[in-house]
């Protein structure tokens, strides 16, 4: 019996050592799957907003994702002003309004196409539609295009950095 008590103690002691080791290894394994620092460091893109033309849809790239930039024409802006959900989505830089958002359908991540004649976006995967300010017009997408974190720096936009304008959008539930 005495021996068994000692075996029991040794068993528990081993269990304790093994548990510490298991937690430590799981932590290391989780961290090894994390995005690398180089991947995260490459997560900033600067856009010079002065080069865009009104009504012309341009696709930029940020963190491997397409970024739609559409400088609003007077006609688009007029339409957007009629709807508060639309106008508040636009980014104002140096007096001009831009739709600037992640060009992935909020349903399952396909890239919707810009239709020049209708000034809107149509997703070929499951038929979702978005207007010229990026607001959803037709389901299945649950919400308008997401707006990436940005900071206004003169006539430039730094994507990936959180500025007060973006924070306000996030707080107001305009983007995620």
């Amino acid at each position: 019996m005495k021996n068994n008590n000692r075996r029991g103690f040794m068993g528990k002691a081993f269990g304790a050592v093994a548990a510490v080791g298991a937690v430590g290894s799981l932590y290391a394994m989780k961290k090894s799957w994390d995005p690398l620092p180089s991947v995260k460091a490459a997560g900033f893109t600067t856009l010079d907003m002065s080069i865009y033309e009104e009504g012309v849809m341009v696709t930029e790239k940020w963190r491997g994702k397409p970024i739609f930039v559409l400088k609003q024409s007077a006609e688009m802006l007029k339409k957007a002003k009629e709807n508060p959900r639309d106008i508040e989505r636009l980014v104002e830089v140096d007096g001009s309004h831009y739709m600037m958002c992640i060009g992935l359908c909020t349903h399952l991540g396909c890239i919707p196409a810009f239709r020049q004649d209708k000034n809107d976006f149509k997703c070929a995967c499951h038929g979702g539609e978005f207007d010229a300010s990026g607001m959803v017009q037709l389901v299945p997408p649950p919400r308008g295009f997401d707006i990436p974190p940005f900071k206004i720096d003169g006539t430039k936009l730094v994507l990936g950095e959180v500025g007060p304008e973006w924070q306000a959008m996030k707080d107001n539930g305009i983007t995620l």
Binding site: W33, D34, P35, L36, V39, G43, T59, K61, R63, G64, K65, P66, H107, L108, G109, C110, I111, A124, C125, H126, G127, V139, P140, P142, L176
Partner: protein, 404 residues
């Protein structure tokens, strides 16, 4: 210490050290199989052979495949397909086998459901089998990423997005799985590792469990009859072979088993040599482009039925029902409340349940491939609802089943 004597033969030498005769008896000549079975009982061996072909062809592909975003596409479509002698053979065997293995898995699975081979002590066979199905699905998906074509990239994008959980917006989890904001080098590297090492290891372990789970309850038979294997095997060994209800695994059962395997292999290599196109999506012959979505994204045929359950609903409900469809088959032994383990056709309502399930899965598969428009969306929606209702009704249908 064990006592060893001078060996009288090579066989005796091994016998003293490894007990080869005993192993042969336990694994083959005295592993008993019921006589009352049909060709559907050969699907297990067909699956073993198909898995072996996947393994061998995979080993040859692995020698030339380059798991980098810049090198992967060319290593498959140029190096393996054009430069390596018979490289095309390994690729087509691998691609066709990956598709056909699911056909056989489905036949194997529905044979089990039809004959009630998931109850009366056979629950662990069923559960380990369904875990194998999950592991094979993960293996198929991770392998689909490797050529790094448009379908690889966008399937990777859409499927990893499912882990954001719809309105839960667990984007951090999705980025963690990918190791990047979008599928990129970290993603390709880890899915390569999963495909060639971790998941195959899990599959081999699960196959061992699946076979082990068979030992005690033994293989089922065409009538779900409870056989006393000790009594029947004694009869056989006493020379009353005709009277006994069982036969040896080898060579009795294996002889016919391998006959079926032979017929399967003729069909299989007909596909590999003359009709491999169905396993090679043309869209995947365009290199991955993160800034251009293909017009239609659809999974391989064997995932279409569960994809169609995801599609007609809004994202949250779709995800819940999709998850339901993925796990519900595992619970079959516990949802079937009837004590009967006879073929479905002798079980009244359950027989109807079985055939409706088969037809409905075929309809879901067809609708999953068609564009989600007009009448097709309606049929898809009705079928998806029917699938869920059928499973919810199963405990009630079987509870009131008459004992046969």
């Amino acid at each position: 210490m064990a006592h060893f004597t001078k060996a009288t033969s090579v066989k005796d030498w091994f016998n003293q050290r490894l007990a080869v005769e005993k192993v042969e008896k336990v694994m083959m000549s005295e592993y008993w199989i019921p006589k009352n079975i049909n060709f559907l009982w050969a699907m297990g061996m067909v699956l073993v052979i198909t898995f072996a072909m996947l393994l061998v062809s995979g080993i040859f592909l692995l020698m030339y495949y380059v798991p980098t975003v810049d090198g992967a596409f060319d290593s498959v479509n140029y190096t393996i397909m054009r430069e390596v002698d018979f490289g095309w053979l390994w690729r087509h065997v691998h691609g066709v086998a990956a598709s056909v293995v699911f056909l056989i898995i489905y036949i194997h699975m529905f044979t089990g459901i039809y004959y009630g081979s998931y109850k009366k002590g056979r629950e662990m066979i069923w559960i380990s089998g369904m875990l194998l199905f999950v592991a094979f699905s993960a293996e198929a998906f991770s392998g689909y990423m490797l050529p790094w074509g448009q379908m690889s990239y966008w399937a990777g994008m859409v499927i990893t997005n499912l882990f954001s959980g719809g309105s839960l917006h667990a984007d951090g989890l999705v980025e963690w799985i990918r190791g990047d904001y979008v599928p990129a080098q970290a993603f390709l590297g880890r899915f390569f590792m999963l495909h060639v090492l971790l998941i195959p290891l899990a599959i081999i372990g699960l196959i061992a469990l699946h076979f082990g789970a068979l030992r005690i309850p033994h293989v089922n038979n065409q009538d779900g009859e409870e056989i006393d294997f000790d009594v029947e095997s004694e009869k056989y060994l006493a020379g009353k072979k005709a009277e006994s209800k069982v036969m040896r695994f080898a060579n009795d059962f294996m002889a016919k088993d391998l006959m079926v395997v032979g017929i399967f292999l003729v069909f299989f290599f007909y596909l590999v040599f003359y009709n491999y196109g169905f396993a090679m999506d043309p869209v995947n012959f365009d290199p991955a482009d993160g800034l251009k979505t293909p017009a239609h994204i659809y999974p391989e045929w064997y995932f279409l039925w569960s994809y169609e359950i995801l599609r007609p609903f809004n994202i949250d409900l779709g995800l819940v029902l999709f998850a339901f469809a993925q796990v519900i088959f595992v619970l079959l032994p516990f949802l079937d409340r009837s004590p009967n383990s006879v073929p479905a056709n002798r079980r009244g309502l359950f027989g109807i349940w079985f055939w409706v399930m088969i037809v409905n899965l075929i309809v879901l598969t067809a609708m999953g491939k068609l564009p989600p428009e007009g009448i097709f969306s309606t049929i898809g929606l009705v079928s998806a609802i029917l699938f869920v209702v059928q499973w919810l009704a199963l405990p009630f249908i079987t509870k009131f089943e008459k004992k046969v």
